[in-house]
Amino acid sequence: MAATPIASPIAVAMYPTLSGITLAIGLIVTAFFFIYEATSSRKNRSLGMELSTAAAASLFLGFGSLFLLLASGVYV
């Protein structure tokens, strides 16, 4: 039976680029979140907006930190 080599799902050479992009987007969305927190008043704040920004920010930051770990040689 022929044995096919297995590689990682994403090309290893792409890890630094991917980590940079996802971390940048994640940090921008985090900035949006905190600006919203700081400028909105207690009455006007909407929980949906807060949760959605937090979810998007944590998604991008999570993937960004994973790719950062992989790019720096800690193959988790």
């Binding site: 039976m1 022929a2 044995a3 096919t4 080599p5 297995i6 590689a7 990682s8 799902p9 290893v12 979140f33 905190f34 927190e37 909105s40 008043s41 207690r42 009455k43 006007n44 704040r45 929980l47 807060e50 949760l51 937090a54 979810a55 920010a57 944590s58 998604l59 930051l61 999570g62 993937f63 930190s65 994973l66 770990l69 992989l70 040689g73 800690v74 193959y75 988790v76």
Partner: protein, 547 residues
Amino acid sequence: MKKNSSVVVDLLLLLLAITVLTTPAFSDLVLSKVERRIDVTSQIARVTKTLKRGKRKAKRFLVVAAFTNVLQPFPEKITQRDIHLVMLQESAQYLSPYVVESQSLSIKLPNARIESYTKLENSKVQGSEIKYGPYKNLAQYSYAPIVVHFESKAAFAVAERLVREIEVSHWGNVQVTEHYNLVHRGAQLKGEFSRLEYQDRPNPQGVSAFRHLLARLPPRAHSIYYRDDIGNISTSQMQSDSKKTELLIEPRFPLFGGWKTFFTIGYGLPLSDFLFASEGKRFLDISFGSPMIDLVTEKLIVQVVLPEGSKDISVTTPFAVKQSHEIKYSHLDIAGRPVVVLEKNNVVPDHNQKIQVYYKFSNINLLSEPLMLITGFFVLFITCIIYTRADFSISKSSAAYLAKLQWDEVLATLQEVQNIIQKCLAAHDKLEASLRDLSRTGDIQTCKATRKSTDSLLKDLSKELRPLLAALQSFPSASQISPKVEELVAKEKELQEKLMARHTTVVEGYEKKSSGRDIENRIASQQQKIIALRQEVDDLLEFIDEI
């Protein structure tokens, strides 16, 4: 006691019976030719035996064996200046239960001094080889002990304990970490070690020591490090090509007989060179022993760490190993990673063959790692949300608390006022846009319609503004801000009226079909005021923004 001795007697009787019954069979078998070749150029004695049976229908057997610890250093303790002499004890005649018609033995020694060797009939020295034979028609079990005493320049490097950890990560890397406990198993050093004599040129003293160790790593090995408990060891060189990566390391000190050292070598390998898929399972195809050439390992422990979520693990080896399972907790692990531990004693470089570790893994399990990170960050954000929403004040009726509550309401009202003003300004812009459309297309009806709709919109917005202004006035803490807000609203209203007036004038001008210049002249004065008012409105908005 009696039972023991009776068992032994039984065994002996059994053995005797077998020997007696099978001796006729043995004596029928005759080996026509036996050629033995012993290679002792390194610390391992490699014996190659070619056995030939029969003359017409000849059957040839080739036996290759490697022996460790058969070269005894003699003398056992030497000083730094002495040469390293070792002794090999063998039998010139092949010890076998069969009659051998013709046999010969040749011992290949390293290209150095031969101290002495047992001289039998038919023995001669040819260069660095000693040949015994050919001996014809020897009986069964014939034995002629010989001793060869010669100088060996080989490195007697023996790893007392080698732990090889192979960690597989499906993100693209196989990380190999090897911990060595090395010892020089040659003649022990007696007396002192003099660095001066060791480094003296042209006559360095210390032939029995070894300095370098060469390791052959697979090609495309990266991130190679060589360190010990003190830190990084910089005396190493690496040369790589497409077939192998050669790492030449030099321990912190030369190793004389009996001296020990310990170090760690680590390197990463690309995943697609070693991990393969076949028949629904994955397998790791990797070499078993140490990559160092000419290293004898007394105790070798290979730990293969597979990613979390691997199931149905099995190992295939070309030789016998002792297997066991463990769990290792590493980065981003929930249940731990399964580890297959393979142990083997007395390992020589000939054991450096490929072993296969089979297991099942689906790529979905890879997602658990980023999910853990995402959840971590999300918990942080939730904490922020709870913090900004929660009320941590101790007293709910103190003056400061009530003032804070009021200020929050003031800010909320201000924000709503701001929103409405922005909407008004948007309506103004729509008016202007309709004027520009008019000058382009000349369509008066749509222009009038736009003006009407904008008019009604602005009226609604000003109605919304009124209760907000009233609320703002009622707050005592907003006493400084509310006049500014009122000013803003008043100015905005003025702007509204002026814009409306201008719009009407322009539309009338178009209806009367007067020339463009006339229209311009009429609205010129209004235009200036409009621009000034707009500027003031913007300034006030900025001021409110900064609160």
